[in-house]
C-alpha cells in the first residue's frame, strides 16, 4: 500500500492535452480519482474519452501534461510497464483473444503472476506454478460468472460475455485501479444489472474504478462521481445528482443528435428510489432495486 494520506489521489490527470495534427482530441484535461472511488467519464461521441484512456495506459503519448498513478509519472512508460504498476484497462471493441478458449484467455491474462523462466519451462520445472495459475483462472472465471463458458472459444461468445472476459483479463493482472471502456455496450438490461453488481464487487475488494460509458442510467447508478467531457474539455464534475441538473451538461447532450438528446432526457428524468448511490455500501438487494428501472 502507498504511504500517502487517504485523501491523496490514486490517479491524477494533470493538464493533459492530445493533438493529432490540427485536431484537438483533448484540450486540457485535469482531474483526480481517489482510492476506492467509482468515477465515470462521460460525454458525447468524440469527446475524447477513449483517447484519455489511451493516454493513461500508455497506448498514446500526450502532447502536453502528465498522468500520475500512485505518485509515479506515467510519461514514457510502455503499456506493459504501466500494467505492472497496477493500472489495468479493458477495451471497447476487441476485449478477448478470439482463437483461444475462455479459460486460456484468462491464463494468458495471468502472465504477470508467475515469473517462470524459460529454463524452468524447458526442464518441466514450472508445473507447480502452472497448477496454481489454473486454480486462479478458475477462480477469476467464477468471479465474473463465466465458469460455464470456460471451454468455449472466446471469439464465439456473445458481445456481452466477451466484455466479461475482458474484465476477467484485466482483473488477472491484480490491478489497484481498473479502467473500463464502455463495458455494458451491447448488453441487455438484465446483463447490465448483473454487470453493475460485478463492478461493485470489484470495488468492494479495494479496486478503484474509472468508467467510460454511454448508458446513463447505469452511470448515474454506479458512480460516486462523474466527470463530463465535451470537445476534449472537462465541462463539469461532481456527484451524479449535481451532474444530472448541470446546465452545461444538458447543453452538451442537447447539442448532439436526437439519440444523445434522448439519452440526456432519460438521464435527467431518472426516477430515483434512493437519492444518489453515494458511498452507500451496496448490498445485492439494493443493487437490484436500484437497477430495476433499467
Amino acid at each position: 500500500m502507498t504511504s500517502s494520506a487517504p485523501e491523496s489521489p490514486i490517479l491524477s490527470v494533470e493538464h493533459v492535452g492530445v493533438r493529432f495534427g490540427g485536431l484537438v482530441a483533448i484540450a486540457d484535461l485535469h482531474f483526480d480519482v481517489r482510492p476506492g472511488e467509482i468515477v465515470s467519464l462521460i460525454g458525447p461521441n468524440g469527446a475524447g474519452k477513449t483517447t484519455a484512456f489511451n493516454v493513461m495506459t500508455g497506448f498514446l503519448r500526450p502532447s502536453q501534461g502528465v498522468v500520475r498513478f500512485r505518485g509515479t509519472a506515467l510519461t514514457g512508460l510502455q503499456p506493459h510497464e504501466i500494467v505492472r504498476l497496477g493500472l489495468s484497462r479493458t477495451f471497447q471493441r476487441t476485449s478477448v483473444f478470439p482463437d483461444d478458449t475462455v479459460f486460456d484467455n484468462v491464463m494468458i491474462g495471468l502472465h504477470r503472476r508467475t515469473r517462470s523462466r524459460l529454463v524452468d519451462t524447458l526442464l518441466g520445472r514450472d508445473r507447480a506454478a502452472e497448477r496454481r495459475l489454473r486454480a486462479e483462472a478458475r477462480d477469476l472465471l467464477d468471479r465474473v460468472g463465466l465458469t460455464a463458458r470456460a471451454d468455449e472459444k472466446a471469439g464465439a461468445l456473445a458481445y456481452g460475455e466477451q466484455r466479461l472476459v475482458g474484465v476477467a483479463l484485466a482483473l488477472a493482472t491484480e490491478p489497484a485501479m481498473l479502467l473500463l471502456d464502455e463495458p455494458v455496450s451491447g448488453m441487455n438490461a438484465s446483463e447490465t444489472r448483473v454487470f453493475v453488481r460485478l463492478i461493485r464487487a470489484i470495488r468492494a475488494r479495494g479496486v478503484t474504478i474509472l468508467l467510460v460509458e454511454h448508458d446513463m442510467p447505469m452511470v448515474m447508478e454506479v458512480s460516486d462521481r462523474i466527470a463530463v467531457l465535451n470537445y476534449g474539455r472537462l465541462i463539469a464534475q461532481g456527484a451524479p445528482a449535481e451532474i444530472r441538473s448541470d446546465p452545461a451538461v444538458i447543453e452538451a447532450y442537447l447539442g448532439q443528435g436526437s439519440a444523445a438528446r434522448e439519452a440526456a432526457m432519460r438521464a435527467a428524468s431518472v426516477p430515483t428510489p434512493v437519492p444518489a448511490p453515494m458511498p452507500v455500501p451496496a448490498t445485492p438487494e439494493t443493487a437490484v432495486a436500484e437497477a430495476s428501472h433499467a
Partner: protein, 346 residues
C-alpha cells in the same frame, strides 16, 4: 489421440531403417528431409505461433552450417590492419554447439532490429539479411572458399567420458542423429508452446493491444522466440554440414526457405505436428515422383499438391485431418446471439 500420433510416428521412424535394408538412396532422402523438417519446425515457432514471417530463415540454417564447418575445419584469415586470425580445428561436436549459439545470436540481432516495426518490415529485413549472409559466404573466399565450397568437413563425433566415442559416418547413424535432434526440438517447442511463454506468443498474435494491456512485453517475447527459432535452424544447418561433409554458398538459396514455408503452411502452421507432417510429405514427394517424371516436372506437381491441400484444407494437413476425425461439436454459439443472464458471485 493427439498424444499417441507423435509417439506412433516416432516409433515408425525409429524402426524404418530396419525395413529399408540400408537402402542408401532412401536413407539419404530421409536424412535431408529430416534436417529440413527441423528447419521447418523452427520456422513454425515464428510463423505459426507468433505470426511473424521470416523469409530469410535459411540464413540461420546456413550460418549454423558454416560456423560448424569452420570450427571443425579451422581457418586462417587476414582481417586487415595486419591482424591475422588463426583457428586450429576443434571437435565437430563443439562446432555444433557454436553453430547453435551463433545462429541464436543472429536471431537476437534480427529480432531486436525488426520487431519494433513488425509485419512486412520483418519479412524484408529477414530476406535482406539472408542475401547479405549469402554474399559474404560467396565473396569472403579466404574464409569460406567461396563457390569452391568448404570440403572435407569432419563427421560428428559423439562421446561420453569413460564410455568411448562414436564417429557418425554411416547413413544409418546420421539418420538416428537427425531423428534424435528432431525429437528434442519437437519436445522443446511443445513445452514452450504449452507454457506461459507460449501463451504470451499466442496473445500477441491474436490481439496485440490486449496482450500489452495484461503486461506482456511484445519486443522481449518476439525476440526470445526469434532466438530459439534461429538457434534450432542453426542446429539443423550444423547437422547438414557434418552429414554432407561439404557446403557451398548455395545452402543460402532462397528456394530452401520457400520449401520450409511450404512445409509449415502445407502441414499446418501453428500446430506442433504440422511442420513434421508437412516436412515428410513435401520432403519425400520428390522421392515418390522420381521414377515417373523428370525433376522439372516434379516442381509442378509440388505446386499442384500444395494448391490441392490448401484448397481442401485451408489451415493445412494436420488441422484439416484432425477436423475430419473429430465430429463437429454441437452447441457452438454463433456470435452476437442473445445470451442468458449470467450469475455473478462475489
Amino acid at each position: 489421440m493427439t498424444r499417441l500420433l507423435p509417439l506412433a510416428l516416432l516409433a515408425g521412424l525409429a524402426l524404418l531403417p530396419l525395413g529399408l535394408d540400408a537402402n542408401p538412396y532412401l536413407l539419404n532422402a530421409l536424412i535431408t528431409t529430416g534436417i529440413l523438417t527441423i528447419g521447418a519446425m523452427s520456422l513454425n515457432l515464428l510463423l505459426g505461433f507468433t505470426g511473424q514471417l521470416s523469409l530469410g530463415h535459411i540464413a540461420f540454417f546456413g550460418i549454423g552450417a558454416y560456423v560448424s564447418a569452420l570450427t571443425s575445419l579451422g581457418f586462417e584469415v587476414e582481417l586487415g590492419f595486419g591482424i591475422r586470425v588463426v583457428h586450429e580445428p576443434w571437435p565437430a561436436a563443439l562446432g555444433f554447439l557454436l553453430a547453435v549459439v551463433a545462429a541464436g545470436l543472429c536471431g537476437w540481432l534480427i529480432g531486436r532490429l525488426s520487431f519494433r516495426v513488425r509485419g512486412a518490415y520483418f519479412v524484408i529485413v529477414t530476406i535482406s539479411f539472408a542475401e547479405v549472409v549469402r554474399l559474404v559466404a560467396l565473396n569472403w573466399v579466404e574464409l569460406t572458399q567461396g563457390p569452391l565450397a568448404l570440403t572435407g568437413i569432419p563427421a560428428l563425433t559423439l562421446g561420453l567420458p569413460g564410455l568411448g566415442s562414436w564417429t557418425l559416418r554411416t547413413k544409418v547413424q546420421n539418420y538416428y542423429l537427425v531423428l534424435a535432434v528432431g525429437t528434442l526440438c519437437y519436445l522443446m517447442i511443445a513445452r514452450l508452446v504449452g507454457s506461459r511463454f507460449g501463451r504470451a506468443m499466442r496473445g500477441l498474435k491474436e490481439n496485440e493491444s490486449l496482450a500489452l494491456s495484461v503486461g506482456i512485453n511484445a519486443t522481449r517475447t518476439l525476440t526470445v522466440a526469434a532466438v530459439i527459432s534461429a538457434a534450432m535452424a542453426g542446429a539443423a544447418g550444423s547437422l547438414y554440414a557434418h552429414y554432407l561433409r561439404i557446403i557451398d554458398p548455395d545452402v543460402f538459396l532462397f528456394a530452401t526457405t520457400v520449401t520450409m514455408v511450404i512445409m509449415v503452411v502445407g502441414g499446418g502452421k501453428g500446430t506442433l505436428m504440422g511442420p513434421v507432417v508437412g516436412g515428410l510429405v513435401f520432403g519425400l514427394l520428390p522421392v515418390a515422383l522420381r521414377p515417373v517424371m523428370a525433376p522439372e516436372a516434379q516442381w509442378i506437381v509440388f505446386g499442384l499438391v500444395l494448391i490441392a491441400i490448401l484448397f481442401v484444407m485451408p489451415r493445412g494437413l494436420v488441422p484439416g485431418l484432425a477436423g475430419l476425425l473429430t465430429p463437429r461439436r454441437r452447441g457452438e454459439a454463433p456470435t452476437g446471439s442473445a445470451i442468458q443472464p449470467v450469475e455473478v458471485r462475489s
